[in-house]
Amino acid sequence: MIAVERLTKSYGGFTAVDDVSFVCHPGRVTGFLGPNGAGKTTTMRVMVGLTPATSGEVTIGGLRYRDIPNPGRHVGVLLDASAQHDGRSGREILALGAQTMGLPAARVDEMLELVGLSREESRRRLRNYSLGMKQRLGIAHALLGDPSVLILDEPANGLDPAGIRWMRGLLKGYAARGGTVLLSSHLLNEVELIADEMILIGHGRIVAQGDKKTLLAGAQGAATALVTSLDNAALATALAQRGLLVEPMGEGLRVNAPTDEVGRAALAAGVVLTDLRSGGVGLEDLFLELTSATQRDARGAVPPPMPHGAHLPPVAPMPPVDHPSPPSHPHGGHR
């Protein structure tokens, strides 16, 4: 397991990681989520000793990374798939890794097969690799030593949809066998599908953490309903009178309220509903909201970052009507 304790990293006056604490458990995939520049990569670099911490500590299985003998056999690391000599073939890069870790050369072929790089592709030089191929190679490199802990920074970056699905299966299976997985992403959808637990980071601080249910339960205020009726105009008026935010969406309306409240309003107004479903709070809304303090394109009022480790407040501030959030995922939209 990975334990991050009160980790702080500052560069001069700028604090990239600010008093961050969390734990990644074996058998679970932990998603590390935050916008660009939130401090995800810095945190992960500190974990593997590439960046010295200003204060605080990270231990993996109770040890500091530098105290782990032959760490590649215990911790698989992918921080930047492009950070390899671009004149080496993919196969050679894996062979160097295998040799450093003292693994048999056959392990290279196993890993190439696992990540779906063909014999011919593996002989090409890295500079001729697409981003997706580099990413597959990086995952192969991380898995070389059959580690029990995986630390992957933006592993899905550049993978095609089939590749992302493959990686999801791979990491879920890995965690199911007892491995500890920490992966970062700035894309919520990626993490939402794979992570058992999520850590949201913005502006170097953790703004929320927990499993998906806990996070959503804490975000009631951001619940939305999608509703269609025989008289949308009347319904919109009725909802607006109750002080709810309503906006047209497709055939119907999007309301910033739970479905039961919309149902009551329709009943009172005598409007026939033809469709009413939860708009899914979107984790996306939640994500944007929690991290908007650091979103480069954020607009409107933003909540201050929570103190570290704090869960969500019972009522999160509602996004403004013109909030640029894209439509949230329809309920049950992904299987």
Binding site: H25, V48, L50, G61, I68, R73, H74, Q84, V149
Partner: protein, 264 residues
């Protein structure tokens, strides 16, 4: 593997020998690395072959050591490029991230690179003498009465390997200090080839500096090693001060920099 702690029973720290083998492999497994090695080997061979042809064309007297005369100075300049590249390509190609993730003991990686650099340097000396042996043998066949072996064992076994190792360490130290290929190569060549005239000019401007020149003239002090270790105490002193200033200090600063660097 579902426990919260790592099972370390099956792993031991990576031995230095394995890291050296990895570094050796890195020196030739890229096109740039391979061609650099190839070019150095080719130049050494060609220069000695040219000597062989010239000698035979002119019916001149020849011995074994004469073959290595001029090529040795070329080796002293070319071989350190290998040591420099071992260090700087990790930074220019950013592969240091992976190297240090697999071996967080950075000084151990540096030590492995240093050993590799010295081995590569010694390999160029071996090649130089091997080609000289072949050339002398050919010479003896073609013009037996003009050819002598007259092997200078002191130079072969001590002087040449020692001098080349020192210049290799000099280049290596600068590479650690700059972590940048062009800066390291240029400064290596400049200091090696021009430090004496530059020191002379400074001494001309500041007469008090004149006494310091013999203590800082890296090329002279190092080249004297090709005749073996210094004979007098003052020569020893000048050699050690030179090594301290041009190798130990940059290597120490470079190692400190590498240890503290945020590897990106």
């Amino acid at each position: 593997m579902s426990t919260a702690t790592l099972d370390l029973s099956g792993t031991r720290p990576t031995p230095l020998r394995r890291l050296v083998l990895v570094e050796l492999r890195k020196s030739y497994d890229t096109r740039a690395g391979f061609w650099l090695l190839f070019t150095i080997a080719l130049l050494i061979t060609l220069i000695e072959l040219v000597t062989l042809i010239a000698v035979n064309a002119q019916d001149a007297l020849m011995d074994f050591t004469a073959f290595t005369g001029s090529v040795f100075f070329v080796c002293l300049v070319l071989a350190p490029l290998l040591g420099i590249m071992l260090v700087t390509t990790e930074w220019s190609q950013r592969s240091a991230m992976v190297t240090f993730a697999l071996e967080p003991e950075r000084l151990k990686v540096l030590a492995a690179k240093l050993v590799t650099a010295v081995l590569l340097g010694l390999a160029t000396v071996v090649l130089m003498f091997a080609v000289a042996t072949v050339c002398t043998a050919i010479c003896e066949v073609l013009q037996p009465e003009l050819t002598q072996w007259a092997v200078e064992w002191q130079f072969l076994l001590v002087g040449a390997p020692l001098t080349l190792t020192v210049t290799m360490l000099f280049g290596f130290a600068l590479a650690c200090l700059f972590l940048n290929t062009p800066a390291s190569i240029v400064s290596f060549l400049l200091i090696w080839l021009t430090s004496l005239p530059v020191l002379g000019v400074i001494a001309g401007l500041i007469p008090a500096f004149e006494d310091a020149v013999p203590w800082l003239a890296v090329q002279i002090n190092v080249l004297e090693l090709s005749d073996g270790f210094p004979g007098s105490a003052s020569e020893w002193g000048q050699l050690l001060v030179t090594l301290l200033v041009w190798i130990v200090v940059p290597l120490g600063l470079g190692a400190w920099r590498i240890l503290r660097a945020e590897v990106k």
